[in-house]
């Protein structure tokens, strides 16, 4: 049944993504594709992979945004007018009120009762694409080779996989992130590490107005030093040069 679980799931497994730390290296994107093309369900196909119009199904994408502070915010993320870059990884948010699940006509889309992971049963999927239309976040992409809908599984074939080392029992994107910008945990448990991060850093939902109640949370960029305070010294000013460089500077001036 593609009805949502009637009660809150006892666990809400999901990700916390730190927008302050992400450097936009796309390692999570590649690790996700690599793991999921050989794991759960059909391979993640690419079309025209070596041509000019290459495209394919990806379950995780990193966008890059420029946000220009307008000085409204009480916490100064940056000086008004000084734009800053925010790297923005985006994958399925495993919403509590997932609109992609209820629109599914076949029962292929479902939200798990025990841990809240939203999955697609690819043997039932007819590839109508309606779930991708229902998702405001663009978390679902059709696999054009298999004709079925693909989405983040939260690496369900890793996190419970006892044949893996315990340290590897996290989603592939989390395991690979070199800057530790992605965190995995139970967001229903207020004492979990991810829940602490969310409450301490003011973690937020994406598009709360869509009423989807996403499980994944994002942590905002931290305040930074104003650009004016870190301006580069003037190139020709050598007044503070001392020692060897001071001597070289004086000798070169004489020539």
């Amino acid at each position: 049944m593609t009805s949502l679980p009637r009660h809150n799931t006892p666990k809400k497994l999901g990700l916390v993504i730190d927008l302050d730390v992400c450097v936009g290296c796309h390692a999570c994107v590649v690790a996700c594709k690599e793991w999921n093309t050989g794991g759960y369900g059909s391979a993640l196909s690419d079309q025209d992979p070596y041509g000019a119009g290459v495209s394919g199904a990806w379950l995780n994408r990193v966008h890059g945004y420029e946000v220009t502070p307008d000085g409204r915010d009480r916490v100064v993320i940056g000086e008004a007018g000084d734009a800053r870059v925010v790297h923005f990884p985006k994958s399925c948010l495993h919403c509590d009120d997932a609109p992609c699940v209820t629109v599914c006509p076949t029962g292929a889309s479902y939200k798990r009762e025990d841990d809240g992971i939203v999955l697609v049963d690819e043997d039932k999927c007819i590839g109508c694409g309606l779930c991708a239309w229902a998702c405001p976040y663009g978390a679902r992409e059709m696999d054009l080779a298999a004709g079925v809908m693909k989405k983040c599984t939260l690496c369900v074939d890793r996190i419970y996989n006892e044949t893996l080392e315990e340290v590897d029992r996290v989603p592939s994107c989390v395991r690979t992130c070199p800057t530790n910008a992605r965190h995995f945990g139970d967001l229903a448990d207020p004492s979990s590490e991810v829940s602490h991060m969310v409450s301490e850093r003011g973690g937020f939902d994406l598009m709360p107005e869509q009423g989807t109640r996403p499980v994944n949370k994002y942590l905002p960029p931290r305040p930074r030093t104003p650009l004016a305070a870190s301006s580069a010294p003037a190139a020709d000013d050598t007044a503070d040069a001392t020692g060897f460089f001071g001597w070289v500077d004086r000798m070169l001036d004489r020539i």
């Binding site: 495209s55 076949t106 029962g107 039932k124 007819i126 229902a134 298999a146 004709g147 905002p220």
Partner: protein
């Protein structure tokens, strides 16, 4: 949103088929007339053709039967179930007309109600999506029902004229009125479609509390499934012209012709057949342009990540 040709054909032709079938169910045409028998067959063919066309865009059409299972939550599934169920009274009514030259009011009205329910379910597939602002409104089912009724009534007038109906003016006049009502609803729909969007790049990224957000680098150099499916732009460029074309072909031409036929009912025979036929064709062309715009102009929330 990408306007898939199969979906446009499906929604317009099945709308015409259900509209015609629902009016046949009300017994507006003489069941003994050969033209009425053809009308029954045409309605069934249009509905069946539309349903087949709707499976063409599926990734795995061989599993389409599974779409009948989730009627408790999914409007798409409800539409499928209702479409199958509706075939029963419609085929029965067609059988009675074709082979026994009679109309059964009970079976007819059941068919009419199920036709309306099916078109309503089709429209609710779109109206239930909160991610597409312009669709997520009661105006969407109203306009789908309006167009189905108008095109069905225009087709009834055409079959009535072909069958030499003694009272053609109520059919033609009714069709003209329904055409006007349908486009009045559509105009209301279009007005609300221009509301400010629910979501913005600021709410999509959650960075709105800092300031204005704009895209610096898209996630990939080329397009992807999301931008192809949700970010269609061709028709937006010509949206104004297309809307005028839809109004002239879908509203102006058929409304004038059908009203003219209602006012001058003595012009029966081949003239009436020609006038109603042109009305139906023009109306359908206008509705197809309207349906194209319904998809092409719709803005999906995910495109906030690509601006």
């Amino acid at each position: 949103m990408h306007p898939a040709f199969s979906i446009i054909v499906f929604t317009t032709l099945s709308g015409l088929g259900y509209g015609l079938a629902s009016l046949l169910g009300l017994g507006l045409l003489d069941p003994a007339q050969p033209a009425t028998k053809v009308a029954h067959a045409a309605a069934l063919a249009l509905i069946a053709g539309g349903l087949v066309s709707s499976t063409l865009h599926l990734g795995n059409p061989q599993r389409a039967w599974r779409a009948l299972s989730q009627w408790r939550s999914s409007w798409l599934s409800r539409e499928g179930v209702l479409a199958v169920v509706t075939f029963l009274p419609l085929t029965w009514s067609a059988y009675l007309s074709v082979f026994e030259s009679r109309w059964d009011p009970v079976i007819g009205v059941i068919g009419t109600a199920l036709c309306a329910a099916t078109v309503f379910s089709t429209s609710m597939i779109y109206a239930s999506l909160k991610s597409v602002d312009s669709w997520h409104t009661p105006w969407t089912p109203a306009s789908y029902l309006g167009f189905a009724a108008a095109s069905g009534m225009a087709a009834s007038a055409a079959f009535g004229a072909a069958g030499g109906a003694s009272l053609l003016w109520p059919l033609a006049g009714g069709a003209a009125v329904l055409v006007l009502i349908a486009w009045a609803i559509k105009t209301g729909w279009r007005k609300q479609a221009l509301r400010p969007p629910l979501s913005t790049p600021e709410s999509a990224t959650g960075l709105g509390h800092i300031g204005k957000v704009r895209q610096l680098e898209p996630p990939h150099m080329t397009d992807n499934y999301l931008t192809r499916e949700m970010g269609f732009r061709v028709a937006r460029k010509h949206a104004r012209k297309l809307w005028l074309i839809a109004l002239v072909m879908g509203c102006g031409v058929p409304a004038v012709l059908l009203a003219g036929l209602a006012v001058f009912p003595e012009s029966a025979g081949s003239t009436a057949v020609l006038v109603t036929l042109v009305s139906v064709l023009s109306l359908m062309a206008g509705i197809m342009v309207e349906r194209w715009l319904f998809f092409a102009e719709a803005r999906h929330a995910v495109m906030n990540y690509y601006r």
